[in-house]
Point group: C2
Chain length 374, copies 2
């Protein structure tokens, strides 16, 4: 086998990292008067210039009216989700997630000892009727779930974007049951076509919603820079927590590099480039799936992000397909890990189109189709 092709991980294309404009941003930071500040302990809430930039940008994009007190810089979305779990749950608490959901988010939540409850989704997102049934059932058992964790745009692993009607219905239920929504929106900047529906944060008027953002998918994961958007009280609680006070937020150096890169317009130029790149790869993957896959296999039609979600017929097992594809040099993610109940994922595969070349995507899908058809 020539080389293995990875459709496995949710990583940006390596060629999109360390571009010339990015290198120039680093160079400007290191030779500026800000460099020594960026190397010291930072402001607990985050780099103020980056906060200002993000508040303006998010206000414009989501039609919000945030001020600085509504945003905090974090060490990627990981640090954000971990902090929310630490501060807003206790071991044994109930947390609601989508079925499927991002495997490592489930892992982070489980490390905090919470009990996960899953709500199924279809091509429009989480099913409000199922959510309501779960909330009623939990209420009847005196269980008050602490958080609803959802990935509304270009969902990981399915690529699905929740419709506005679904979001509105879920916000209504969350309000009715006093449930905090954690809106993990790290793929938002990777919309290929139409506008995405209003965010949960916007629909809820900022009430009881924590939105998580990140530059990991669109600038560089290695910087570890993300943020939360929330009401002032929640942001303040995160700023006042032990890890933040100890210096454990985002790297001030990384944050300074990001703001230097963003505020000169380089992020926007870069986003145009990578949206085109990933859209072409998605198109190639969808075309190859159409061409090669047997008729009893179905898949999602992502409007952005990194992932296509494949559903195999009931007599085909994802773990077997994954192993056989791997033997032929094609790496994919099997569905089990993305479910609270792993058995629910045994006929699903996640395919990432962000990381492989067009030729490799076509080859990999052909090989996968052969494995599935065998």
């Amino acid at each position: 086998m020539a080389h293995s092709i990875s459709l496995r991980l949710g990583h940006p294309d390596p060629t999109t990292l360390n571009t010339l404009p990015f290198q120039q941003a680093v160079q400007r930071v290191m030779t500026s008067s800000q460099a020594a500040n960026a190397l010291a302990y930072g402001n607990e809430q985050g780099n103020i210039a980056l906060m200002d930039y993000l508040v303006k940008r998010i206000n414009q994009e989501q039609h919000l009216n945030l001020s600085a007190e509504n945003l905090m810089i974090t060490a990627g979305s990981t640090n954000a989700l971990d902090m929310i779990a630490r501060l807003y749950t206790q071991a044994g608490d109930a947390v609601i997630v989508e079925a499927p959901s991002y495997v490592d988010s489930l892992h982070v939540l489980r490390d905090h000892g919470v009990k996960l409850y899953a709500v199924p989704m279809d091509d429009e997102g989480m099913l409000p009727d199922e959510l309501e049934a779960l909330l009623k059932d939990l209420a009847s058992k005196q269980i008050k779930p602490r958080l609803l964790y959802t990935i509304p745009n270009f969902h990981n692993p399915t690529g699905i974007t929740a419709s506005e009607a679904r979001r509105t219905a879920i916000v209504k239920l969350a309000r009715q049951y006093d449930l905090m929504i954690v809106e993990d929106d790290v793929y938002r900047d990777l919309a290929f076509e139409a506008n995405i529906p209003p965010s949960y944060f916007a629909l809820a008027g900022g009430e009881n919603v924590i939105q998580i953002g990140s530059v990991s998918k669109t600038i560089a994961p290695g910087l570890r820079v993300g943020w939360i958007v929330a009401c002032a009280e929640i942001v303040q609680r995160c700023v006042d927590c032990g890890t933040t006070q100890m210096g454990g937020g985002a790297s001030p150096l990384s944050a300074q590099i990001v703001v230097e890169f963003c505020r000169q317009g380089d992020w926007d130029t870069h986003l145009e480039h990578i949206r085109n790149l990933y859209q072409t790869r998605r198109d190639t993957m969808l075309a190859a799936l159409d061409l090669y896959m047997p008729p009893d296999v179905t898949w999602t039609q992502p409007a952005g992000g990194f992932f296509v979600w494949l559903t195999l017929p009931e007599n085909k097992y994802a773990a077997v397909v994954k192993r056989q594809a791997s033997e032929r040099g094609v790496l994919v993610a099997s569905g089990e890990g993305f479910f609270v109940n792993p058995a629910d994922g045994q006929h699903h595969l996640r395919l990432t189109y962000s990381f492989a070349s067009l030729d490799d995507i076509e080859t990999a899908v052909r090989v996968l189709a052969e494995v599935v058809s065998a």
Copy 2:
């Protein structure tokens, strides 16, 4: 008042950050073939070159025989302590700390809902008899403490270094009661004079000890790079946890900058410089304390690190001294926050000598002495 003088925070001197060799290390990273890797998601256990460098260095300094499986890179000591608390405690568990201890570590531990028990210390460190009495008392109540958190070298806030006899006695008790020691050793590289006693990790033969290190005090806090040293099983558990798998360890870019700076010998040269700098400041602070303080005030004699710990007579309150000093432009930390029982700190002040110039240190101590004597 001309300007305020801060003896308040445990921060390195700003002039020691962004030195020319450091800037050159950044430049080398960004123009090397490693740059794109450093901007991608990193190896979960950490940058391999930095792990190799640290393993060799720590083996030499602590007379250990670590291999790569014994070390993990973390996002500063904060990320390390938070991860240990998340994985090795549950809400309600007992954790033992020194009295006093580092205020933000107490805060991190409390955010995990643990119950803190404090063991008093004297000029040689934590008192083993007191620790044994506590362990016996807890055992009699069927309480098994999960962790013993200690800062053995140039302790924050007291500046005290635990003697070898104390460490040996504490390791023995920890073994007897199956208690995991968390050895927060972030000031280790700032020894001014004599060799420091063997580490807890060395004395315990690596059994049931997690050692935490950091470059925040000696290269740059803004990088957010630290590490843990532990047995392979503990390291693996930390590598396998949700936040690590999600990408939430140290910034790969920061780690690459650190290894580039270290392996050319720049760290060692830099350490020589800053040890001299901080030693001179300590000497100035101790001399000023001798000169100005009334005879009923006592203080510690740190052999390294950043801090001197002041004990006021019983009729003088730290909070009052802090406020009155602040009104005269001198900022210090009052003792209360460093104790599980805040009242135990009401006659103590922590003075940091790392952050102020020699003139400012002398002025600040004089002002403090006037406030205390008034």
